[in-house]
């Protein structure tokens, strides 16, 4: 058989295999202005009613997460607020699979922008001004990062 035919078939098979695997992944969901308007959380309740809906507040700016490390008790909630000019998608390390918290990957626990298993993964990008909360139900030290800017990282220590 002509070598060119062999290589054409091989190239098609390789590209087809790569394409099949790549497109079998769930699509990531980008933030929209409507999402931001619908999901922006109100100001922390302790400022208005004295309640404590979250134990720690982490702000995401263009310089990264601040504070980069917080310590909470098991069962407590951490709120992440996006005050950067970019999207914020908080996810457990490692990037991009987010498997550290419970061993499942984004392909397994994110579907159409929704977290289907309750793991430490926002599963969608929050627009500027939007926030996201997560209640840590198990103890440990959990690294996280912004899925849309993986060099920005932090740590939540759950006692």
């Amino acid at each position: 058989m002509n070598a060119k035919v062999i290589w054409a078939v091989l190239a098609i098979l390789i590209i087809g295999a790569i394409g099949w695997y790549a497109f079998s992944a769930e699509r990531a969901v980008a933030p929209t202005e409507a999402d931001a308007a619908a999901n922006t959380e109100p100001a922390p309740a302790e400022e208005t009613s004295g309640d404590e809906p979250f134990a720690a507040l982490i702000t995401y700016t263009d310089d990264g997460f601040s504070p980069a490390s917080v310590t909470v008790n098991r069962g407590e909630t951490v709120r992440f607020v996006n005050q950067s000019a970019r999207g914020m998608w908080v996810g457990s390390d490692d990037h991009p699979t987010h498997t550290q918290y419970d061993g499942t990957s984004t392909r397994e626990h994110c579907a159409d922008g929704t977290n289907t298993t309750g793991t430490f993964d926002q599963c969608r990008a929050a627009a500027t001004g939007e926030s996201w909360e997560y209640a840590f139900e198990k103890s440990g030290t959990f690294g996280f990062h912004n899925h849309m800017g993986a060099s920005n990282t932090g740590t939540v220590i759950v006692q």
Partner: protein
């Protein structure tokens, strides 16, 4: 155009390794862009003005390099560019080194291919 079938097996394997490592991100970014855009430093995204535009332009470049290194001539150029690109990816994402350390290995493979094709080299 080079017929890869006529290459020594060791060089063919090197070229295949590099081509695959550059083709997969380019194709995967079409369906899961935010798994890849996170590796871009923000100043690059700011320069492009649009995250996905930057991502897919980079994807086109990756695919071109992959095809060049697999089928093209003067392989010194794409393999050297690949080595530099891989090191840059690691350099701008030091926090992700536990994952990206493999890029250093691939960069060495690219450097080896470049070395094989250096002027008057063997």
């Amino acid at each position: 155009m080079t017929n890869p079938l006529r290459l020594p097996p060791s060089e063919l394997l090197l070229r295949l390794a590099l081509a695959l490592s550059f083709l997969y991100p380019a194709v995967s970014a079409l369906s899961d862009p935010y798994a890849w855009v996170g590796y871009f430093p923000s100043f690059v995204l700011d320069l492009a003005g649009n995250d996905l535009l930057a991502l897919h332009l980079w994807g086109v470049l990756e695919a071109a390099l992959a095809l060049w290194v697999l089928f093209g001539k003067r392989v010194l150029v794409p393999s050297a560019l690949m080595a530099v690109a891989l090191i840059l990816v690691v350099a701008v994402n030091p926090e992700q080194f536990p994952v990206l350390f493999r890029d250093v290995s691939i960069a060495f493979a690219a450097a080896a291919l470049a070395w094989m094709h250096r002027p008057h080299g063997t």
